[in-house]
Point group: C2
Chain length 303, copies 2
């Protein structure tokens, strides 16, 4: 059992969907990742918040056992995101982004964090992702990163530089096509793998996820849910379950990678059932095990 380190955003989210609304709720990529991974292994978080960050939100993460020694409180206001979803829930409409203290985020890893064997570089500037990787004392056993259209458009060279050094990339469907400049998803995933990562995990929202690892495909559907209230954080929750399982088992063979993709999908399926981290915070190990079995049943073919 090994620990996992995540570097990313901690935010206050205001989100409206056809099913309700939350204001200044706990959010951010590192937050969803850490909360999800914490069900499987020890998690250390590196990020920044402002002086206005509610102490109750810190207590929530500490309650999940997340190590927050790498979370800096900087003068100023916390990163805020305001978004809206329509009935199809597939794409967020960003109404406002206030970077605030996150604009000056320059992660410095304390010595004890530089030897964590599983590293997740959440969706931040690829220059910072590469800088964090350079700070690691030994090459971690597994490095994964997430990215998005903003960096593909604006910082392609930096993104390609960090992609050349990571093991796993998690990326959305449309962003995979954009990064590879290729409309066919199979060719796009292979083209991204050719940029460096052994493993490409394409997130497809309500259609699940596709993993291409050492050239072999693995596909897991999304869990068929009647209740999807807020898709915010689903991708980072997926990554948290995925990395959490790999770190907990301290194995990265093909069989464990597949199980990790299913656990990632299990965790994401819970997150979207409620706003913010609400569903994860009342989740039990028994529910995770039950849904993992349900996922297996969902695709099982005999003979």
């Amino acid at each position: 059992m090994a620990d996992v380190l995540v570097v990313g955003s901690v935010a206050l989210d205001t989100v409206e969907t056809p099913f309700g609304k939350v204001e200044e709720a706990l959010g951010g990529s590192a937050t969803y990742f850490a909360c999800s991974a914490s069900f499987f292994t020890g998690v250390r978080l590196v990020g920044v918040v402002g002086e206005d960050f509610p102490p109750g939100h810190l207590a929530v993460l500490r309650g999940r056992g997340v190590d927050l020694t790498g979370l800096t409180v900087a003068p100023g206001r916390t990163f805020r995101w305001r978004g809206q979803y329509g009935y199809d829930l597939n794409e967020a409409r960003t109404l406002a982004t206030e970077l605030n203290v996150f604009a000056e985020f320059r992660p410095r890893l304390a010595p004890e964090l530089r030897r964590v064997p599983y590293l997740f570089l959440a969706n931040i500037d690829p220059e910072l992702q590469l800088d964090v990787l350079r700070q690691m004392e030994a090459r971690p056993r597994l490095v994964a990163l997430d990215t998005m259209n903003f960096w593909i458009q604006g910082k392609r060279a930096a993104l390609e530089a960090v992609l050349a050094e990571v093991d796993v990339v998690t990326i959305n469907d449309s962003e995979a096509r954009q990064l590879a400049r290729e409309p066919n998803l199979v060719k796009a995933a292979r083209a991204i793998a050719a940029m460096g990562p052994r493993t490409v995990v394409v997130k497809r929202g309500e259609y699940g996820a596709v993993m291409v690892s050492d050239g072999a495909f693995f596909i897991v559907p999304a869990y068929p849910l009647e209740t999807v209230h807020d898709p915010t954080g689903a991708g980072d929750t997926f990554a948290g379950g995925f990395m959490g399982v790999l770190a907990a088992e301290d194995r990265v063979d093909a069989r464990t990678m597949r199980r990790a993709v299913v656990y990632g999908s299990v965790m994401a399926s819970f997150t979207v059932e409620d706003f913010s981290l609400n569903r994860l915070l009342r989740l039990t190990r028994a529910e995770i095990a039950e849904r993992y079995a349900a996922f297996q049943d969902l695709t099982r073919v005999e003979g």
Copy 2:
């Protein structure tokens, strides 16, 4: 091993995709279905063509062993469809539909066709679908139907009447939501099942298919293809593989239904690799078996 009867269109398709074009190629829902099902069991086709229908096309279907005694040659021109696909290949743009002899299609089943135990009512007017079902002497062991937005909008009452009497419905993702008037796919599938069919198969194009049968979900992805040249006929090819397997094994239990969905997906994955029926016509049993195994591997999770 039982036979399957299909009632639907036989057409001449002119199709353009970014990968090429065919003119007046063999097409139609019954054609794709019959050709696909013929790899598994005996197929009898009921349809209509005009006097201009090329004898070579008939020879193609006969070459697959399809019984064409129910195919009428009527005075006039054959049904023609002209369509175009863009790079995403998910939705066809219809450029022209000439119903011709198909406008007057009133299927009359010869006595020997009224006892075929597996019946597929391809995408035609739901009033005709119900009329065909009424002509059957004994209730078939399994009746499936396919439908589309045109009938959902224009003939909802007739469609609901026939849905109440069938066992299986195959339907597109967006049309399932439209038929159920429900954006959530899980709720939509359950709502359609409540209209009558024990089994609802939702076709999701490049995302595969979802089956809800007696309340239980089964999800199969689409095969990850680098080469998709023409998606025309994929849904009917799927239905042909699905019904062909059920009829061949003459079983409709849950395990066989799941295998049938995978075989349907296997057959559809071949069809889209080339225009018209070209790929199916050079397909071998060995290739089908190989891709079935590949499908199983695609979703396999151990432990």
